[in-house]
Symmetry: C2
Subunit: 812 residues, 2 copies
């Protein structure tokens, strides 16, 4: 039970800060400077190994493309359970505060959704007014030109913002949200600048008339707003929520609020966040997310009611709360129609699979230079809008029915038709998308001619594919719903025509077909099931459509399987984000063991470790977690994170310093809580102080990191410079035993790789040390997210050779 | 790398079956018979410790009540990952078969739901016809008496079945379903007899006129049907699905199908199964459950459509697919009404809390002897029906409107009123509950007088409380919806009356209030959130009610918090079922370590263990899992389950036997796959054969177990008798290394108890070995479900003493 003599010789008082491992003699106080210097030399010679490991860990899977990629980092979803934390835990009951934050997130998301809605409508109305002015006063050609030119200018503005200010705001951003809920931190994807650019960019991009919608971006915006309330947020808000555990809660709430407001489907939003990204049904998270999304939907709904002039005490227009109003529906359908629904859904599944593939393939040719990216936005927008006008010219003019003048006046556009008429194809392609969807799904039977539907369907697909990879904020929910609805309506006409020779007058419910098409398209493109059904049911407001919708989703998923993963998963793969599904993929071979897939070039510390060794490890590796082991048996005692080490070194929290005078350096002298206090005081520091310091150091570290050492080569010098350790200090020691995560989950080397995967994902881990299956149980490797991804990507045939060899080498 | 000399001396060929632990010298071939005898003597002297452990593990938390309880056992949710299994795994791709089973479950549940629906309606119609016959031909008094008497007889029949044939069929059974999805096997709760008794008993119990419904029982029935498709099912179906992993999948499907059919809410059913019991959003499970519940709802819906005479090519009546038809609704409401909705929901929360408490308190006085239980059913039914008639007499006769004669003719009963009138209170209390609910929720404003609503409300509460603890199958969903709806309607009238002096004619939407009341009552009684909203939305078919419903659920949960856990959780507690929530409860002290909460009296084996030792352990303990450790360092190498050991011993799978002649005994000789084969043959046995044998032995074991040794005292003799080992065989050895679960998750002694809890629940474990935090890492205890429950129930103040002491004693 006594500490080793080597340590007590140094300073008897340091025993107070010991980590409590009696059997541990991890102290190198007995070593002389020569040994220490040799060790540092050794660290330098090991640098090559570190570099190899570094690449596989932090620069995505393919090294040659590393320059283009943002560096991802795993998130911590658990607070560190160290000796220190145990002494000071449980002082901040934050339950009520979390509910308030959830409400605030909901209100902000609701207001932003409202702002986007109003602004996009205004842009469409303005362009239409300009068109009509030019047409009536000057000439139709000028009107078309002005309409297209104004669209290109708005898209260009959105592109300018996105390309030059925040490239992370590109596209829907849902895959970033999935990544962060899965535990991968994508730098800059959720900072304040991205939030602002995404919000403004969405308005202009959607308002330009491209075939995109604001739903996906709203999900990203919701998550970004939620991120501002966690530590690391740009605005430094909410000091209260520094805990890692709160982060995923808030992001789930933000996602649900965004999608809930977009579709007026609070429950659908919650289920989407569960189905697409999260793997746990945590009761508190779910309830808070539901709370947030209800408030967002409610705020949006009230704002729109007030805007449309109805007083509060009037009916609150809650019937159509979302951005997409799906209109009034006839809910009648016949059992014999089910096969047609199924076939339609199957076709939609195939189309969505092809479209996804096409978008993914085209994205390979995306320009890399910023100017090219901007030019792409301008050219593609002009071409798309031009194509829309060409398609509109191929359509015909149709007499406006009373419905079109009242309910769907926004959707039915006159263009070059005579007064009292509207252009059938042109209206679908050129009007505000959300009005068009309401019109297509909700218009009475045969409101649209078959050929108009077909032309609009193909041009919608073209517009969707061309807009998907542009450098503007762009959601694909709306075009997907639109082409599904168009195809559904066309199918309804087809069914009526082909069945009519069989006998009598046969009437189909065109709404049902349109809805089935939309549901199948959504389910196929995004590979979601329950959430899609609930979103559409909440939007339509009639549960009678339950069976057709469920059939649609099932059939669409069935045919869609042939075409690989969903659009989001493809985007995750393209962005080289290591996304882990809860269930191990089938490609992970059954016979692989944990020892076959782990990284072997680990750097581990002893519980009381020399500062120089820690500095070397920080500078020469880019590992984010280091096992802390007993020196004798190499058994894992804990895991210490890079950010913890940075704070400890930056604050000079050395064993020797704790009983000596404070250091006056770096402006830390005054507020240094270590100086002059007894070790016991330090240990009982409040967690909040620790976190405050942590975030400050981390920000400094990150700023440097993103400025000049993106590729990890100059990391060494910058970290050493940042810490500014003197040679004397390098000889000091740090007691990691107090600060490390205690008793982290480990896995044995002979555990199956699939079991290790499940342990990793179900416990939301970041580092899973692998210990030998012999009597000593020494650490032989660490499994991280990347190791699992790499193992799953490996061909099963190749594992036998290297895997078993490794085992023999390191297992001894 | 060579096996120890002690072993090789015995037989060189046994090395083929070695477990592969080169560093392991766990062989006792060198010991002589004297040592072995001493060891067995030691095992007998340890019996007392085993008994203590046994009680804490298997007989619930309070020993004195053990006699009444059924013995629970944890379920395995994972297949054993042993050396053996690794060689033969992956040969049965069963994906498609699982979908077929899910469909079959759906169809059966749908048909049973339909049968219950038809039979209950017939019972109500029959009793009504008898009443009218007696009233018209003889006298009103005889009519009342006959009506009550017939009700008592039907209830008595249900009680007879339940009390004397299958007590597990009592009540709703939802808590059994929660238990099994949580990983606790409750014997007999899901066997074939219970299924039959529950199905028939539900018809008669609900048909008797008691204040109960068939929804809860349908959930239980769905789960019981699903259980027949897993191994251990009574009908021995589906040899294909012996895997432990399939079990929870199928049960989730059954639960969703049951609830989906009951409410016509397939998605609501899935969410209920997720929210109440499961903790993982597993994509495959969710999709299969949705498939199952859609099919069940569809089958029920088609059956009813066919029954009601509409041809298949006609409209399929999908608008109201469930057992509860909530009728057509007016979806208008005003924003200013939200506070009223909230207040109503809050009151409902308080009432549901009080009702739950009352039911729980009353259940303490439930009779124990079967005859008393049966008498209770008779007396309470007579009293309840009598009270209903008294309350009906307190009501008045109301003129029948056209609606009542067409839509709600089943609900509005004439009783003693004049022709063309109906008894207002009597109709609500005495008619078929599902018609009454449709009437109460769907009738136009002011269809019911305020005093009738109030009287019916109180009598409904009385009826619900009195019926809740009876020994008949009884669900409380329906009475809960009914009293909520009655209170809601009464509130609507109250609001109208109290606001009318303020000015003008104020009209409330009575449907909205009724629905809010029902939702709040459901949410309060069952503590569910999302699923309740979805179930009601799917039932109502109008998503416009989303905000009121969400408000209702939120407010109800808010006030309900004061009254403790939900009814199901209380029932779980009463049944002494160790239910584990995913999140550790707050009562689990922050400073507790894994070593403080684990059981210390473990029995562990070596990888090659003497048969006599195994037999002793099986006979003298009731542990269901034993760590397999290396003998030198006591490090955990694996976990072997009791059922595996029983099979191994019963098949004489001894190391020595594998190279000798087969044993002709127990009828196993012919099919004994061990005899005459080489060890390698044995190891590569197909898993299916192993499972077949396993289930046969297990059935034998279980039958004996339940016949004569329920309290674990005669277990010793019966197991020894069953195995029939001779003295020579007791000296043989078993190689457990081949069959044990490899590299099971372990936790370190200094890990926090909360972390151990999360590891346990998130990985769905059954045994979590605790290893010392010293260099040797020897096993010091095992954490099971019961240990976690006991630790959570302990007062935080008491832990310091024993917890730390234990740590010092065993941690060395």
């Amino acid at each position: 039970m006594a500490a080793s003599t080597a340590e007590t010789r140094d300073s008897p008082r340091t025993r107070l800060l010991e980590s409590g491992y009696a059997s541990d003699d991890d102290v190198d106080g007995g070593r002389d400077a020569r040994e220490a210097r040799e060790e540092r030399g050794g660290a330098v010679s090991r640098r090559k190994t570190f570099a190899a490991r570094t690449h596989s860990l932090y620069l995505g899977l393919e090294l040659e493309r590393a320059d283009e990629e943002e560096e991802c980092e795993s998130l911590d979803f658990h607070d560190v359970d160290s000796h220190w934390a145990r002494r000071s835990r449980g002082r901040f009951p934050r339950g009520w505060a979390k509910w308030i934050v959830a409400a605030v997130i909901g209100v902000i998301v609701g207001l932003i959704a409202f702002a986007i809605d109003v602004a996009v409508s205004a842009l469409f109305r303005g362009r239409r007014a300009l068109f009509e002015l030019c047409r009536d006063r000057v000439h139709l050609a000028l009107a078309v030109f002005a309409h297209i030119a104004l669209g290109v200018v708005t898209a260009a503005f959105a592109g300018l913002l996105t390309v030059y200010m925040s490239p992370s705001a590109k596209g829907s951003g849902v895959h970033y949200v999935m990544a962060v809920l899965n535990g991968v931190h994508v730098p800059k994807a959720f900072d304040g600048l991205t939030l602002v650019v995404k919000s403004i960019g969405t308005i202009f991009a959607v308002g330009s008339g491209l075939m995109i919608g604001p739903e996906g971006p709203l999900v990203h915006i919701g998550a970004a707003i939620a991120m501002q309330f966690t530590h690391g947020g740009s605005f430094g808000m909410a000091e209260l929520f520094r805990s890692d555990e709160d982060r995923s809660d808030f992001i789930s709430a933000g996602v649900s609020a965004g999608l809930g407001a977009a579709f007026g489907a609070p429950i659908g939003g919650v289920l989407f966040s569960l189905e697409e990204a999260s793997s746990f049904w945590r009761e508190s998270t779910t309830q808070r997310a539901l709370f947030s999304s209800t408030i967002a939907t409610f705020v949006l709904s009230v704002c729109r009611a007030v805007m449309s002039g109805s007083a509060v005490k009037e009916h609150t227009a809650m019937k159509q709360p979302g951005l997409i109003a799906l209109g009034e529906f006839d809910a009648t359908y016949y059992l014999v129609e089910m096969p047609f629904f199924g076939a339609l859904a199957g076709v939609c599944g195939v189309i969505s699979g092809l479209i996804t593939k096409l978008i993914v393939v085209l994205s390979e040719f995306a320009p890399i230079r910023n100017s090219h990216r901007f030019a792409q936005v301008v050219v593609v927008t002009a071409a798309t809008l031009g194509a829309f006008y060409l398609a509109a010219a191929a359509g015909s003019c149709v007499k406006t029915s009373p419905d079109e003048t009242t309910k769907w006046s926004e959707a039915s556009i006159r263009l070059w038709c005579k007064p009292g008429e509207y252009a059938d194809v042109g209206s679908i392609l050129l009007a505000n998308k959300q009005d068009v969807i309401s019109w297509v799904l909700g218009a009475p039977a045969n409101a649209h001619a078959a050929h108009a539907l077909l032309v609009a369907f193909f041009v919608t697909l073209f517009g969707m594919v061309s807009a998907a990879n542009l450098f503007v904020p762009a959601g694909l929910f709306m075009p997907t719903i639109l082409w599904g609805g168009l195809l559904g309506r066309f199918t309804a006409i087809l069914v009526e025509r082909s069945l009519s020779p069989l006998g009598g007058e046969i009437k189909c419910n065109h709404h049902a077909y349109a809805l089935v098409g939309s549901a199948a398209a959504l389910a196929g493109t995004f590979r979601a099931t329950v959430s899609v059904v609930i979103i559409l049911l909440e939007g339509v407001g009639k549960s009678a459509f339950l069976f057709p919708l469920l059939t649609a989703v099932a059939c669409s998923n069935f045919t869609r399987r042939m075409f690989g993963a969903s659009l989001y998963v493809e985007q995750l793969r393209q962005a080289k984000i290591p996304f882990l599904h809860t269930k191990p993929p089938k490609s992970l071979d059954d016979t692989l063991c944990a020892s076959d897939i782990c990284s072997r070039d680990i750097v581990y510390f002893r519980t009381i470790e020399k500062v120089g060794v820690i500095e070397d490890a920080l500078a020469n590796t880019r590992h984010n977690g280091f096992p802390v082991c007993s020196s004798k048996s190499k058994r894992v005692l804990g895991v210490v994170l890079r950010k913890q080490l940075l704070v400890l070194l930056s604050r000079r929290a050395f064993v020797e310093n704790l009983v000596h005078a404070p250091r006056a350096e770096d402006g830390l002298a005054d507020e240094s809580v270590l100086g002059g206090r007894t070790p016991d005081d330090v240990v009982s520091l409040r967690v909040a102080e620790y976190c405050k310091e942590l975030s400050r150091v981390m920000r400094r570290y990150h700023n440097r990191g993103t400025d000049d050492d993106r590729h990890g080569r100059r990391a060494t010098s910058s970290i050493i410079a940042m810490l500014g350790l003197t040679d004397v200090e390098r000889e000091r020691r740090c007691d990691l035993g107090v600060f490390m995560q205690l008793a982290p989950p480990t896995t044995r080397a002979d555990a199956s790789a699939r079991a290790a995967w499940e342990t990793f994902t179900r416990l939301s881990l970041r580092h899973l040390p692998v210990v030998a299956d012999d009597d000593r149980g020494a650490v032989i490797g660490v499994i991280t997210r990347i190791d699992l991804i790499v193992a799953a990507a490996r061909r099963p045939s190749t594992h036998d050779g290297d895997g078993d060899d490794d085992d023999d080498d390191d297992g001894v």
